[in-house]
């Protein structure tokens, strides 16, 4: 039935015969992968909080890799892009490469701005070194915090 409908529409993303039956196994597999990755992130964060073990910079790298793999599974499986033809994949993937420049350029610029201010703006540099007494008496846990950690 969906046969005539999709062809009547001129084109069909669902034209791959293999997916006509649409067994739900790959969907649930993707779900478990996404859930598993999120659980790993949660566990890593908790371990870091308790022991400080994975160095924060290493941990951030791991988070980014895990995030990108989650993004891949959502786009490829849930949004079905992996099963489209190559033209379709490329019309999305190639413009998305702009993000590489976008991220590198702007983070670099932010870091550079901070370095310049620390070097030439003494007021900015010194103001950032002043430790504030933990504000808000009701947030008692903040009291044990100043200084250490990171």
């Amino acid at each position: 039935m969906s046969d005539q409908s999709t062809t009547a529409h001129g084109a069909s993303s669902t034209a791959h015969g293999a997916h006509a039956s649409f067994d739900t196994k790959p969907i649930w597999r993707t779900f478990w992968i996404l859930l598993g990755i999120t659980a790993v992130e949660l566990i890593l964060a908790t371990i870091h909080l308790k022991t400080g073990f994975p160095n924060k910079y290493v941990l951030n790298g791991v988070y980014l890799i895990l995030t990108l793999s989650k993004a891949f599974y959502i786009i490829a499986e849930f949004m079905h892009l992996r099963h489209e033809i190559k033209n379709m994949i490329m019309t999305i993937a190639v413009p998305a490469l702009l993000f590489v420049w976008f991220i590198v350029a702007f983070l670099w610029d932010g870091g550079s701005y901070n370095n310049l201010r620390n070097r030439y703006d003494a007021h900015y540099r010194d103001a950032n070194k002043v430790k504030v007494a933990p504000e808000g008496g009701e947030r008692a846990p903040a009291a044990q915090k100043p200084g250490e950690q990171q």
Partner: protein, 224 residues
Amino acid sequence: MAQAIPAGTKWWSGGKSPFNVEYGKLMMWYFLMSDAFTFGAFLISYGSIRFASNGWPDPNEVFRAFPGMGDTHLPLVFVSLMTFILIMSSVTMVLAVAAGHAGDRNKVTFYMILTIIGGLAFLSCQAWEWTHLHGEGAWWGRNPFPNADGSKATTNFSNFFFTITGFHGFHVFSGVVINTIMLIKNLRGDFERRGHYLMIEKAGLYWHFVDLVWVFVFTCFYLL
């Protein structure tokens, strides 16, 4: 549906979509690309400002409450629940699309209802979290949380947090509205009469995109 694509098809010779997808679906993809760059601009400016600051509040100190349990000293538990809810509603959305392919109208209705419930649950969680943070004194222009190193923080943290999660929450809200319209159309039998459920697929693309953005928001605000 079962038509296989012949090898050596000349996609660019005219007369057919070179992308082999229906027009509306292609346009939905392009819209999502532009939306991705909007969110990208938000998140990258957040990153840029964070790189331009000597200190930043520790998310583990900020996000650690859970409804009804007060201060749990377990950061990320609540936001992980939110992530789970959103992933789960993405799954029910795919199942609705799958049911649409099978032409099973009742199943589409069932899974669309589940997806809408998931979206509403996520929005409720976010409303709770905003209320909680507002109660702690955080809002646009106000930031009670000191930097991780104990120095005084600027208001950048709250400004970006509320702007970006708010923009995302607005997308979730629009997604719920779109899904509700799809549900109503399905209940009226519009798609059955039309012979295909492509509208469900397009709404699904939008819904998965909302999930996709959340993955990045989650990492940028709660993990890094």
